[in-house]
């Protein structure tokens, strides 16, 4: 029972980070119908920015600064490479983001160097005892960040003018334009928000172990999360992210014991198995809207 609870807590902790990343993907998808493969690079860039800033200004100030910086980068990417591609097939735009991802990561890797960079978080691997269970503090921090950011996003989309404008332009761009909404700026805002979310997620991916040149792969685990949740549902992305975290955590704890023939580190690829299973049963994910097709 103790093992199960610890597994669940770890799963929810990492799941929160995946959920943050997944929300970034979904915000971009809702605004421009594209899956941005540049998110891994932005996440890595955010983590590295935090690792440099944490020394002089401290971790808690470094995260928002890095988030704003990476948000500006995301905004710049949208303006320079995505805006000219409006009206072109989404696949082409997705491949552009793939190219951007490769290019940005080369630059970021220069700043990482060959070793692991510590992001300077105050938690490390230290634990706190809750009801007799040794819970790692960083998992609590991750969950808290997800709740705070999630609540902030909910309030933003529900109550602010810009949130309303973004929802309108994702619903129908032409109608939104007719109502006087600057759809282009809303798309740029979406990319900036996704960049900021990626940077925050990156900082928390780095807690405990730090970041190195291969950390970017973690951001791709948000892809199963968004597909499971449905590409256009922010709530679905959160659920998907947590689900991916849980599945991964359970495989990490129990697969070696019960399914040893799957090989070591199977937990790292288990999200993709979950993805295949969910898609075979529900091709539009758990919460996604089914596309209506007309000839």
């Amino acid at each position: 029972m103790r093992d199960v609870l610890l597994t669940v807590i770890r799963g929810l902790g990492f799941g929160s980070v995946y959920a943050l990343l997944a929300v970034g993907f979904v915000i971009i998808y809702k605004s421009s119908r594209v899956i941005s493969f540049a998110q891994p690079a932005l996440m890595l860039a955010g983590a590295v920015a935090v690792s440099y800033l944490a020394g002089p200004v401290g971790f808690f100030l470094a995260v928002p600064i890095a988030a704003i910086g990476i948000a500006m980068l995301g905004w710049g990417l949208e303006r320079t490479t995505i805006r000219p591609m409006i009206g072109r097939p989404v696949f082409v735009v997705a491949i552009i983001t793939l190219g951007l991802d490769i290019a940005i990561r080369v630059v970021v890797n220069v700043f990482i160097g060959p070793n692991v960079r510590n992001v300077g978080d105050p938690w490390g691997l230290s634990t706190v005892s809750i009801a007799g269970l040794p819970v790692q503090e960083r998992y609590i921090a991750m969950a808290v960040v997800l709740v705070v950011v999630g609540a902030g996003l909910f309030a933003f989309f529900r109550y602010s003018r810009y949130g309303l404008a973004m929802r309108a332009s994702s619903l129908d761009q032409e109608t939104a334009l007719v109502q006087g909404i600057p759809v282009g700026s809303m798309t740029a805002l979406a990319w900036a928000m996704a960049g900021g979310l990626a940077a925050v997620a990156g900082a928390f991916v780095g807690t405990g172990g730090g970041v190195d040149q291969s950390t970017w792969v973690i951001a791709l685990k948000a892809l199963p999360a968004i597909i499971i949740g449905g590409l256009d549902s922010i709530g679905g992305a959160v659920v998907g992210g947590l689900l991916v975290g849980l599945v991964e955590s359970f495989f990490a704890t129990y697969q070696g014991e019960y399914l040893p023939w799957l090989g070591q580190n199977f937990s790292l690829v288990s999200p993709y198995v979950l993805l295949l299973v969910v898609l075979l049963v529900r091709p539009y994910g758990l919460f996604g809207t089914r596309e209506v097709e007309r000839v």
Partner: protein, 387 residues
Amino acid sequence: MTAVRESADPSSVPEAKGRRPWGRPQLYTAYGQDMALLNTGAKKVSVGVLLVVALLLPFLLEDDLLRLLATGSVLAIGAIGLNLVTGYAGQVSLGHAFFLGVGAYTAAVVSGDPEDDQVWGLGITFLPVWLLAGGLVAALVGLVIAPLASRLRGLYLAIVTLGLVFLGTHVFNEWDAVTGGIGVGRPAADPVLFGVDLSRRTEAFSADQQLYLLMTVLLVAFALLGRNIARSAIGRSFAAVRDRDIAAEVTGVDVRKVKRRAFVISGFYAGCAGALLYSITGYLDPSSFGLLVSVQFVAMVLIGGVSTISGSILGAFFIALLPRLTRELPEYLPFLSSSATQTPNVFQVETLLYGLLIVAFLLLEPRGLFGLWVRIRNYWKAWPFSY
């Protein structure tokens, strides 16, 4: 320039194709003429010249360049496969590396040494056998994947195939009996043809000359096959599904069958390419089938030209020769280092170029190198007029 197919005996020409009139290169009198493999005189001449040059190259170039060109030919086979499924049939696949790996390992197992107690081997080193085996097993995997493609569309499919690469890498890493395991690897398939090991020096030719000739011949065969697939009914059904799958279905195209065919054909090409690619280096490591390989193939297709066979070949050679070009850079840009441990180094520039070239081509010339060629051709066709 005339584009007349002269035939001494008119009765040997099929009636349906008809004869092309003299001196009117742009006039087609039958559909068959328009759809012919080499439908203009210029194409006939240039393809002929290219083939002659390709056959002469091994006697003109250094061995290391030949090896690079041989690799380029193999990559071109893989790129044609990806172009058939992604360019012609419109099914986005980021899983090409996985198919490549399946082909490479099947071929390695078929050709492997049965005495070896570390990894499996059947000991059949005859090239056509392991080549076909690699291609067919990868095609079979394509057949298994295809039902997913017929349920999913667009980016959903891209992500599923991306997941496939991760799952594939995991399997390759863990299945020691086939792959040798992480960091160990295994010998790849031996290119043995009629008792001659082409990867070893013989009396008449060096190893690289033999490999180059082998890969060139295979590339011509695969390109011809690809072109014929593209211009036949299968290719037209691919294009119909790509352009509007519902409309295709309404006009009587069996969409699921077409998608299945596309993945099987693409898998076959990728499997063959994977099998051949590592017979050049002679060694394969389970970590060499990651996402970057898939991205490189996507880059080849996009840089070369979507839905063109010649574009795929151009793109593949471009990507194959790019490392060689960046290796030359430190001579001109002294701040670049050729050592991997210093920054900035040529390997970083190379990777950066992959990324930036994909972005640049998609933004500026979506039709790729093939599109550039079309622009140049049209300019000179109309010269001295601007249109």
